[in-house]
């Protein structure tokens, strides 16, 4: 028995509602907007937010790329790509340059994005202050008053403990000089790519039921102290496959003796260099 879905799985009413919410998000960069997250054919924690955003904006002419930790060929990336292929019939690709719509989990592609592209982030926890203040009633007030001293406290404490700001991923940023935003769990190393990007950046959190957005060419500034400026860590080891030094690496254990290799996390970028 064949089951036919509406284009991109979601009904038109839902897509319209999500698009409306995304418009609001784009109008208030970095500010989280609640939305009625739908039941998706996979559980929370597997990218339902990102999938709903992609489903709402994807059109028949789009070329879709899906990556998971930078790779096109992990199980999740493959599954999500298949899902969209079978519910929309759009062309899919592994090429960052060729894609018009990119859904990503926890990385920004190494290849610079260009105008007209949309990057959809999968977000587990949209509230950057969550670990410091779990009460939503409080964080709503803090955002409204732009009172982010809690986050600065965390940074102060880290400098005290570790001698430096030691946030490796999900580094807090201020968007458009106003809202404290979570960039999703991308490595701190990727944060500078968000600043003044020509692409439209959309963020979906399915479990937490929030959407937010960063329009093209928006200021995205990581939090820091004037005497302890933002300085993300990355290994300077070249990629074992393509030799690139500047890309973000995965550290892979290759045998039982514990030998390891550093390999580009962005598979498309790595392939193009080889």
């Amino acid at each position: 028995m064949t089951i036919y879905y509406n284009f991109a799985y979601l009904d038109e009413g839902t897509k319209k509602k999500i698009r409306r919410t995304l418009l609001k998000a784009v109008a208030i960069p970095g500010h989280q907007i609640p939305f009625a997250s739908r039941e998706m054919p996979l559980p929370y924690g597997w990218g339902t937010g990102g999938i709903q955003v992609t489903a709402a904006v994807i059109g028949p002419e789009d070329i879709l790329k899906v990556i998971d930790q930078g790779s096109d060929d992990t199980t999740n990336a493959v599954s999500i790509r298949n899902f969209f292929r079978s519910t929309t019939g759009v062309r899919t690709t592994t090429s960052t340059r060729e894609a018009t719509l990119i859904q990503t989990r926890h990385r920004i592609p190494e290849t610079p994005l260009h105008a007209g592209q949309i990057l959809v982030y999968q977000v587990p926890m949209p509230e950057p202050l969550f670990k410091l203040e779990p009460r939503v009633s409080e964080t709503i007030a803090l955002h409204a008053m732009a009172d982010y001293s809690l986050m600065y406290l965390k940074l102060y404490d880290q400098i005290t403990r570790y001698g430096r700001i030691a946030i490796g991923y999900e580094y807090p940023v201020i968007v458009h000089d106003r809202y404290l935003t979570s960039p999703s769990p991308i490595p701190a190393y990727d944060v500078p790519k968000m600043h003044m990007s020509p692409a439209l950046q959309l963020f979906g959190a399915g479990r937490e039921k929030r959407l937010y957005a960063i329009p093209p060419y928006t200021r995205v500034i990581p939090l820091d102290f004037t005497d302890y400026p933002f300085d993300p860590v990355n290994t300077r080891q070249p990629c074992a496959l393509c030799g690139a030094v500047e890309s973000y690496k995965d550290e892979i254990v290759i045998d039982d003796a514990g030998n390891r290799q550093f390999i580009c996390s962005d598979t498309d970028f790595c392939e193009h260099r080889r």
Binding site: M145, S149, Y152, L153, Y156, D157, I159, T160, F225, T226
Partner: protein, 260 residues
């Protein structure tokens, strides 16, 4: 030349009920720059309710609290937008809780706790923040070496000193204190009282101090207001009210204190 003191805070006819229980009945008072006013009374008298209404975290059913650092009294606590009230609480006013754990962030180091107000005010230089934290640790007589320790490793008296440092760092002109020494061991209270006295005098702060301990009122406050069942029944110079009480309830209160 006549002396006309200008109040920095004025409450008029504050009335507040919790259901049918009347906690404040038409309470009026004024605070003048640099003075310490003790509000005393037994439990249930309404003194903490009054403090919290003046501070702005409780809304009265009737009456208002006007304030202004320059004596203009042009702002009203009850109608102040939430953001401005919050800003006020973190800069120009201070509140010292009876239990320091209600004010401290127990998972943040002592130093972090102290400088939070400064960061909220926009200070972004780590070195400066650290300097100020060390300065204030010394001021409240905590060993500066403990700057990176968590408050959970501090004694109750030290936690209270930490709360005081964290509150005073923004140089508030008005301080609200709710039984600041009551939760502490008696041996620790003396040191804290002395510290408070010195800081208040040095910073020229006005203080509204709620206490059930008449001895603390006598030592710290120049003026005292006695509350009974939601009303201020007597007010005046502290030693005068305590040594020559006029109201029957005040006479009862004063005569009931056990001599040590």
């Amino acid at each position: 030349m006549s002396y006309r003191p200008v109040p920095i805070l004025m409450a008029r006819d504050l009335t507040l009920s919790f259901g049918t229980l009347c906690a404040l009945e038409s309470v009026s008072l004024e605070i003048y720059p640099g003075e310490v006013l003790a509000i005393v009374g037994e439990s249930g008298s309404g003194k903490t309710t009054l403090l919290n209404t003046l501070y702005g975290v409780l809304a009265p059913g009737a009456g208002e609290v006007r304030f202004g650092e320059n004596g203009e009294l042009d702002r009203c606590v009850q109608t102040l937008p939430r953001q401005q009230l919050r800003h006020l609480h973190r800069s120009a006013w201070g509140y010292v809780h009876q239990n320091p754990r209600d004010a401290l962030r127990m998972e943040i180091t002592a130093g972090g706790n102290i400088v939070e107000r400064l960061m909220a005010a926009g200070e972004k230089h780590y070195g400066t923040l650290r300097e100020k934290a060390l300065f204030w640790l010394q001021k409240v007589e905590i060993d500066p070496k403990r700057i990176d320790d968590l408050p959970t490793t501090f004694s109750g008296g030290m936690q209270q000193r930490l709360q005081i440092a964290r509150t005073l760092i923004s140089h508030p002109y008005l301080l609200f204190m709710d039984e600041p020494t009551s939760g502490l061991d008696v041996s620790v209270q003396a040191g804290l009282l002395d510290l408070l006295r010195n800081l208040v005098s040095e910073q020229r702060m006005a203080v509204i101090l709620v206490t059930h301990d008449l001895a603390v009122a006598r030592l710290l406050a120049g003026r005292i207001a006695v509350m009974q069942r939601g009303r201020i029944i007597e007010t005046g110079v502290t030693d005068q009210v305590l040594d020559d009480p006029q109201h029957p309830y005040t006479q009862l209160l004063v005569s009931s204190v056990l001599p040590a």
